[in-house]
Amino acid sequence: MKLLKDIKALVEGLQIAGKHLGRHAITIQYPEERWTMPERSRGIVVLLSDKETGELNCTACLLCEKACPTAAIRIDAPRNPETKKRELKSFTVDNGLCCFCGLCEEACNFSAIKMATKYEFSAEHKEELVWDIKKLQEVGRDVPYVDTRKKKSPAAKPSVPKDTPPKSEKKEHEKKSQPGEDKGKANGPEGLTTSDQPEGEKKPNDKKGQS
């Protein structure tokens, strides 16, 4: 009879809701407990420094500035007339404009810029969201990263012009041999270890929005 069916459905609904009363909650109490963010989590932009010398990895190639869709990165890097290389004068990231897309990280060849997993950077005034090179480097000091630069002195790198298809292809072929071992398997070749970085970083070199 329809009435009994209705009552049964109502009681079943109550049971489903009621059985959750005994279960533990799935939420955590922020800020006392914090979630560990996955490694690839795209948080704020930071500038990475060399692990030994502590200097910035950035070579002022301006690739990230060109890759950013919201013009959040502003770099002032005039060319030194004698050495013909760019020298980094100022590097600002406006976190208010940043859309956390990660294109800058993909564009960089020198492991200089990264989206760290930090996400707590509120400020009381809009101007405080604009971070200069000092703050970017300071926040980036304890961010783990994989150094993908060639083992030469950093100063040599900037002379490489912006789009160099042959070199990047070669790098790609090198990198492809790594995943090639696991080609047949269904699993991705990467784990969530530091070998994670190179796959993503190398590929975009020739596809990113360089203008």
Binding site: K5, D6, K8, A9, L10, E12, G13, I16, A17, I26, M37, P38, R40, S41, R42, A67, C68, P69, C99, F100, C101, G102, L103, E106, M115, D163, P165, E169, E172, K176, P179, D182, K183, G184, K185, A186, N187, G188, P189, E190, G191, L192, D196, E199, G200, K203, P204, N205, D206, K207, K208, G209, Q210, S211
Partner: protein, 367 residues
């Protein structure tokens, strides 16, 4: 016997309202409780995405197009990449196609779970909202593990995907879809046979087949009105023709059918994901695309089956590295327009139910 004069009054279900998902505005003319006229007003969420894209390179457009319909951001990225790849004739590697399909279907499940929660909440039952979101967390965690973001992924690139999946992805995905498949029976037990739910959704908001086709309605709304049309079958893109899945169709066209259909679609998506995970090949994840990507001049319209309906990107290129025109077609625009057609036997509460089951997302309307 004196007839008391009554007059209609105009109520604004304004841009800020708990039941319109986002900033959509409806001007209702009420006669007592019955609705006499509905007038939808749009434009409150216009962000000029299409114009902004005209000044960005193709790769920079991807995060911008993400925001076009942020609940299913994977589909937005994918539609744009598909358009650019069609224009330039790029062939996408196998592994990338499989990964794209897995992500698209996971996104579809996440969107339908959100639909379930929000619809239940609009009709009054608040608890299913939390249950739907709890399951959606599993999927969103998978996305965060792979591409780093939980809502606006920017995962696809022209020619493939940006990053390969980490090694925890596959076991965790299997786990997630197993849990979601099991919880579906919980959701159905909570609402499907509930007499209050049936009274609120069965027979309400019937959309006849002809009206649906005339207004360009697509997706689950169309299929609930009896038209068996799914772009994945009728106009296949990517590698959907390799997978074995059904297209659920229902014939009443009321709110209840639209709700049931989306739950069925979750099951079909789970089937597709399982097949895709089993058949995932190795290989590259991105085709070689030049850094200054300049597709040949021309125009292309690429359309995909979003969880809401047909999502299309019409791309016009003039040979430079920035697109000449990007037009995004969202299905919610047509669904919002079809609201006045639902007949005059409605109460305010019915409009809320219809609005919820049409699964209208306002950024798609206003772009």
């Amino acid at each position: 016997m004196v007839e008391l004069p009554t007059e209609e009054f105009v109520v604004n279900m304004g841009p800020q309202h708990p039941a319109t998902h986002g900033v959509a505005r409806l001007i209702l003319t009420l006669d007592g409780e019955k609705i006499v006229k509905i007038e939808p007003v749009i434009g409150y969420l216009h962000r000029a995405i299409e114009k902004v894209c005209e000044n960005r390179t193709y790769a920079q457009c991807i995060p911008i197009i993400d925001r076009f319909e942020y609940v299913t951001a994977m589909s937005c990225n994918y539609a744009f990449s598909l358009a650019a790849e069609k224009l330039a004739g790029i062939e996408v590697p196998e592994r990338a196609e499989y990964l794209r399909v897995i992500m698209l279907e996971l996104n579809r499940i996440a969107s339908h779970l959100l639909f379930y929660g929000v619809t239940a909440m609009d009709i009054g039952a608040v608890t299913p909202f939390l249950y739907g979101l709890r399951e959606r967390e599993l999927i969103v965690d998978l996305f965060e593990m792979t591409c780093g973001q939980r809502l606006t992924y920017s995962y696809n690139r022209i020619g493939g995907v940006s990053r390969d999946i980490p090694k925890e992805f596959i076991p965790q995905t299997h786990e997630a879809i197993k849990i979601i498949g099991a919880k579906l029976s919980d959701y159905e037990g909570l609402l499907n046979e509930n007499p209050i739910w049936l009274a609120r959704t069965r027979g309400i908001g019937v959309l006849p087949k002809e009206t649906a086709i005339a207004y360009g309605v697509s997706g689950p709304v169309l299929r609930a009105s009896g038209v068996q049309y799914d772009i994945r079958r009728n106009d296949p893109y990517s590698i959907y023709d390799r997978f074995d899945f059904d297209i659920p169709v229902r014939y009443h066209g009321d709110c209840y059918d639209r709700y049931l259909l989306r739950l069925d679609e979750i099951r079909q998506s789970i089937r597709i994901i399982t097949q895709a995970l089993d058949g995932l090949p190795g290989g590259e994840i991105r085709a070689k695309v030049s850094p200054n990507f300049k597709p040949p001049p021309g125009e292309v319209y690429s359309r995909i089956e979003n969880s809401r309906g047909e999502m299309g990107i019409y791309l016009v290129s003039d040979g430079t590295k920035k697109p000449l025109r990007v037009k995004a077609r969202g299905s919610s625009y047509n669904h919002f327009e079809v609201l006045p057609q639902f007949g005059t036997n409605l109460l305010v509460a019915d409009i809320v139910a219809i609005f919820a089951t049409l699964d209208i997302i306002v950024p798609e309307i206003d772009r």
